[in-house]
């Protein structure tokens, strides 16, 4: 075991204090050290987007950040959105529009889209497609994801 | 991967050829060469550390000179292995005396790259190999310049 560093990270509003090796990827830390398995790992080279999380509110790849770098920062994962019985409006739209199949890429999409919808309350289809270009879905062909985002945008702006 | 090219050396053919048979000269020209030991007249052992930006690859391997026809041509065989994969290169080098105390070197060969380097490093290989050749020729030019001036 090489040198470890103490870190203090806020994840989904809860503070975690842990000792980590500097090389530990944030994705592995969230999944295996904290047991937050909703964040998935698909490529570990920053292309598939499955591991997207919010780092101080910004959507980033958790496979391209070391856990040690999260020290003092605030992370949000899919677990912070809704629960099975109380889905977040975007999650509900995904369900309603059949925007997921195997579900493996889905948390990455959600974490990309939550801040996107905050910044683009009325996105065009092109904007949506560009926003999710960094998330690969092998199952759906994206069309239904786009529909779900449009649906969620309409719901969310109505709620305002 | 096919490797092909030419380079004009500003020195007579004999001098150029001599340089290509001189492990010290070759060693100095190859970027990242850390150690080169002579095994026999045409075999050398070498360790090489290539650093390309964030990518670093250490290789240990051999250099063999064969089919030597002084001062016209020689074949170089480079084999190296390391954590990031392996490289095997065969280069046929021809030297043409242009008569004006310059020599045109033409090389054609095959470089086989294997392992991680090949499987995920495709997009870097061309520009990096071009850069290695360029740097090597620049160094050889410098060596020649020095030697030729000395003579």
């Amino acid at each position: 075991m090489s040198q470890t560093f103490p870190i203090s990270v806020t994840v989904n509003g809860k503070v975690y204090n842990r000792e980590v090796e500097p090389r530990l990827l944030l994705s592995d830390f969230l999944r295996h050290d904290l047991g937050l398995i909703g964040t998935h790992v698909g490529c570990e080279h920053g292309i598939c987007g499955a591991c997207t999380i919010l780092f101080d509110g910004e959507p980033v790849r958790s496979c391209l950040i070391f856990a040690v770098q999260a020290n003092g920062h605030e992370i949000r994962t899919v677990e912070s959105l809704g629960t099975p019985d109380h889905l977040h409006p975007l999650q509900q739209s995904f369900k309603d529009k059949h925007a997921l199949q195997c579900g493996f890429c889905t948390p990455g999409f959600l974490m990309t889209l939550v801040p996107f919808l905050e910044e683009h309350p009325n996105p065009s289809e092109d904007e949506i497609r560009e926003a999710i270009d960094g998330n690969i879905c092998r199952c759906t062909g994206y069309e239904k994801i786009v529909e779900a985002v449009e649906d969620a945008a309409a719901k969310l702006s109505q709620a305002k | 991967m096919k490797v092909e090219g030419e380079h004009l050396f500003k020195a007579p053919r004999e001098v150029v050829y001599e340089m290509f048979n001189d492990p010290n000269a070759l060693g100095a020209a190859v970027p990242g060469l850390q150690k080169m030991t002579k095994i026999d007249a045409s075999h050398y052992e070498a360790t090489l550390g290539i650093r390309v930006g964030p990518v670093s690859a250490n290789f240990s391997g051999t250099l063999t000179l064969t089919d030597e026809v002084p001062p016209e041509k020689v074949t170089l065989i480079v084999e190296g292995k390391g954590g990031a994969g392996f490289v095997k290169g065969v280069g046929h080098v021809n030297f043409e005396d242009l008569g004006d105390k310059t020599t045109m070197m033409r090389y054609v060969g095959e470089a086989n790259i294997g392992g991680t380097l090949a499987s995920v490093g495709q997009r870097m290989i061309d520009s990096v190999s071009k850069s290695i050749f360029k740097t090597a020729f620049e160094k050889l030019d410098k060596i020649l310049e020095e030697r030729w001036q000395q003579k």
Partner: protein
């Protein structure tokens, strides 16, 4: 009988777990005390192994064990034939060389496992690779399929006289005779390129041995949990009952996860037992490209013979099929190619020959579209070439030769992957095609849209093709349906699920039969502890086979409900009525018994369960079809090509599909959409490339390009046909692979159409702008 749920767009029951991060995938399984496995994989594609020295690796802190082939002793042996060769085809030759779990004397593909490191973490396990000294003697690699076939080739398996893995020919009619009467004969050589399944979740495997209970528990994201259970039990000398394989949520399958007897599922259970420690292996993306199976990769030599009026007289196809270094998965893929080549059209004379070759690449097994894509690609392309030669519109030639409803069922006579002669059970292929032409407004495109675009300097092209999808092959699947004492229903099947929505569609079928709320039916898939019979998830067979088994089992339970209720109420069965979740006597709805209470009565603690009656409101049923049910359809695409950069955009995508009875339209369209994105990806983006030395050059998403949101057409227009299959009571045909099959030939046809003034002929299935540039240049210069 109520049909409250069948054919309705029921929102998926599994989604709420998947959406919230509450669904567990295999890498999410945390077993206390677990150790992590990592495989050291060969850099060389073909080499003789002198020595693999792991002594230093064993000393590294955190490393618990390191194994090479030698360390497995007698346990090391080539795996079984997971799928046998087709004995039904006379004269077929097959050389079985099944995959080995870890390389022993010889390396046969780059990425083959050389050593397995067991360590406290995956990080440490990978560190130990640096300590291992691999001493090998590289050999020339066998990559080119046609050269590999020659007798002079270097051998992948030294004990065979050649690299022939199989030679299988089939003929209906007599092609050579038919050719004599032809006015036009066209022959071409075509490539169908190599693509990956590339599920977003890589493979994974966790094994836990319980020494006290003598029980092995395995979590795996396999498409074939029962095959894994069987082989683990057999390998370790255990009874099947001592091995439980659980498939948790699976992040996509698309074919490759059906392959077993790989390094992980063979070696990890043995290691877990030997070390008496749970072991987890999670494949990484590079390994997935190197050492998980993939598909396509065929070279076809095709010939089509026609009369002047466009009538097809015959078709001949001699094709090379890459099986990779081993052929454990038999001949499923090339047999699918044989059946699908002529399955759309009236082709009275057909000769087809498979030349399956060993090469120094990872094993080839089905990937969504499996073999069908290849057969459809070459036939559709050949029809286009023939149409050009005949001076006919490509659609006209198709309309003339497509099979109609009157011709169903239609025997093609070609023996397929299920080893029975192919019968097209239902459908109207001509009607599919006509509807497609109408929906895309072919006439208008030709007369108005295309000429107008051309005047504006834009290149638009249209392609309209037909396809079939052989689905729902045997042998069988089954399930058990139980009504619990709380009135809720559980269904258990050995079939594993990878996102197809099985938890919802099976529940829909059962809920209708038992008149319960669909959300009250819990479906357990792929847990051998719950149901231990079945074959696996492949060939678009879940909805049809498990769906039919669900229907049959639910009907049995329904019969039990009536029998038990009749006894409880003391009235004949025909006086019983089934309400939603309860039974009552007709006309007396105030006096009801809930299904939960009825379940208690069906399993009484006193009294008598009469001989011949099984207790409980529970039943098991199996369904095996005589032969597969063939889905069909047509696809029209309109593409635009940038005339300067040759970038292609799919502007319209109109697909007609016939999968018989629709269980859930939402899920159905999702299946088509996903297939389509793979089909478009396979055509314009995705290509696995091995160089001539057998190095896999595309082992990351940097070079293996997955289709993205902006690569897809804005709308996938789908038109459903409803020709029911006569093979099963619900009339279902499969759908999973349809979308992936026709995009290739349709896009090629459309590209040629976009450059109709030059003799452009596209002879390969994977294109990029540079390749299109080359084709156009060549055509312009010819």
């Amino acid at each position: 009988m109520t049909a409250k749920y069948l054919s309705q767009p029921i929102k998926r029951l599994e989604d709420k777990y998947l959406l919230t991060g509450n669904a567990r995938y295999v890498d999410d399984i945390e077993v206390p005390g677990v150790l992590h496995a990592a495989f050291l994989r060969s850099d060389y594609a073909h080499a003789k192994i002198n020595k693999i020295d792991v002594s230093e690796a064993r000393k590294r802190p955190g490393v618990v064990a390191v194994f090479t082939a030698e360390d497995f002793g007698d346990f090391w042996k080539p795996g079984p034939l997971q799928v046998p060769p087709p004995t039904a085809i006379a004269g077929s030759k097959f050389n079985a060389r099944t995959i080995v779990p870890i390389a022993k004397d010889k390396i046969r593909y780059s990425g083959e496992a050389l050593a397995v490191v067991i360590a406290e973490s995956r990080y440490i396990a990978e560190d130990a690779f640096d300590d291992i000294i691999v001493d090998v003697e590289p050999l020339p690699a066998v990559i080119d399929l046609e050269k590999a076939w020659e007798d002079t080739s270097v051998l992948v398996h030294d004990d065979l006289p050649s690299n022939m893995a199989a030679l299988v020919s089939q003929e209906v009619g007599n092609y050579e005779e038919a050719k004599k009467n032809a006015d036009v004969v066209v022959s071409k050589r075509m490539l169908v390129e190599h693509v990956a399944g590339a599920a977003m979740e890589n493979r994974g495997f966790v094994a836990k041995w319980d020494e006290q209970d003598q029980q092995m528990t395995i979590w795996a994201n396999t498409q074939s949990p029962l095959t894994v259970r069987g082989s683990v039990a057999r390998n370790l000398g255990l009874a099947e009952s001592q091995v439980r394989v659980i498939t948790p949520y699976i992040g996509g399958g698309f074919g490759p996860k059906v392959m077993t007897s790989l390094s992980d599922d063979v070696l990890i259970p043995w290691i877990a037992k030997k070390l008496n420690r749970p072991i987890k292996w999670t494949e990484d993306r590079r390994e997935n490209f190197l050492a998980t199976t993939s598909e396509r990769d065929q070279i076809h030599h095709c010939e089509i013979a026609l009369k002047k009026d466009g009538t097809i007289l015959g078709f001949k196809d001699v094709f090379y099929h890459n099986t990779g270094a081993y052929d454990s998965y038999g001949m499923t893929v090339p047999l699918n190619t044989q059946t699908h080549t002529i399955s759309n059209y009236r082709v009275p004379n057909f000769y087809t020959e498979i030349r399956m070759v060993f090469t120094n690449t990872m094993v080839v097994t089905p990937v969504r579209g499996a073999g069908r894509s290849e057969g459809v690609f070459v036939m559709e392309r050949m029809i286009d070439f023939a149409a050009k030669k005949l001076g006919m519109d490509p659609t006209e030639l198709r309309l003339k030769n497509l099979l109609t409803a009157e011709e169903m069922p239609h025997k093609t006579g070609i023996i397929g992957q299920d080893f029975v002669a192919n019968v097209l059970d239902s459908g109207d292929y001509l009607d599919n095609y006509q509807k497609c032409l109408k929906a895309v407004d072919y006439e208008k495109f030709r007369k108005e849209i295309q000429p107008k675009a051309r005047k504006e300097g834009k290149r638009l092209g249209i392609g309209v093709v037909a396809f079939t999808e052989g689905t729902a092959v045997g042998p069988y699947e089954g399930c058990k349906v139980t009504i619990s004492t709380n009135g809720k229903v559980t269904m258990a099947t050995g079939y594993s699920t990878q996102g197809q929505g099985h938890q919802t569609v099976f529940a829909q079928i059962i809920a209708d039969q038992l008149n319960v709320k669909v959300e009250d039916v819990k479906v357990i898939t792929g847990d051998t502890g719950s149901f231990a019979w079945g074959a696996g998830t492949f060939a678009s067979r879940g909805a049809t086979l498990v769906g039919t088994a669900s229907y049959l089992a639910a009907q049995k339970v329904r019969a039990k409900i009536f029998a038990t209720a009749s006894k409880a109420f003391g009235v004949p069965e025909d006086e019983i009525e089934l309400g939603e979740g309860f039974v009552f006597v007709k006309g007396k709805p105030e006096n009801k018994i809930t299904l939960g209470d009825l379940a208690i009565k069906a399993n009484p603690m006193r009294g008598v369960v009469e001989p011949g009656v099984e207790p409980g409101l529970e039943a098991t049923a199996y369904y095996g079809p005589p032969h597969g049910a063939t889905g069909s359809g047509a696809l029209a695409v309109i593409v635009s090509v940038d005339p300067e950069t040759y970038k292609v955009k799919v502007e319209r995508f109109v697909m007609v599909d016939d999968c018989g009875t629709i269980i859930n339209p939402l899920i159905l369209d999702g299946q088509i959409d996903g297939g389509v994105s793979m089909g478009i990806g396979n055509t314009l983006y995705e290509k696995m490339v091995y160089d001539e030395n057998g190095q896999m050059l595309t082992a990351s998403f940097m070079d293996y390009l997955m289709p993205q949101a902006t690569d897809m057409p804005k709308k996938i227009e789908i038109i459903h046909q409803h020709n029911k299959s006569p093979l099963n009571p619900l009339g279902i045909k499969g759908i999973g692979e349809a979308g992936a099959i026709p995009p290739g030939p349709a896009i090629c046809q459309a590209l040629e159409d976009a450059f109709s003034e030059i003799p452009l002929e596209i002879l390969e299935s994977n294109l990029n702008p540079s390749i299109i540039y080359d084709y156009v240049k060549k055509a312009r210069n010819s």
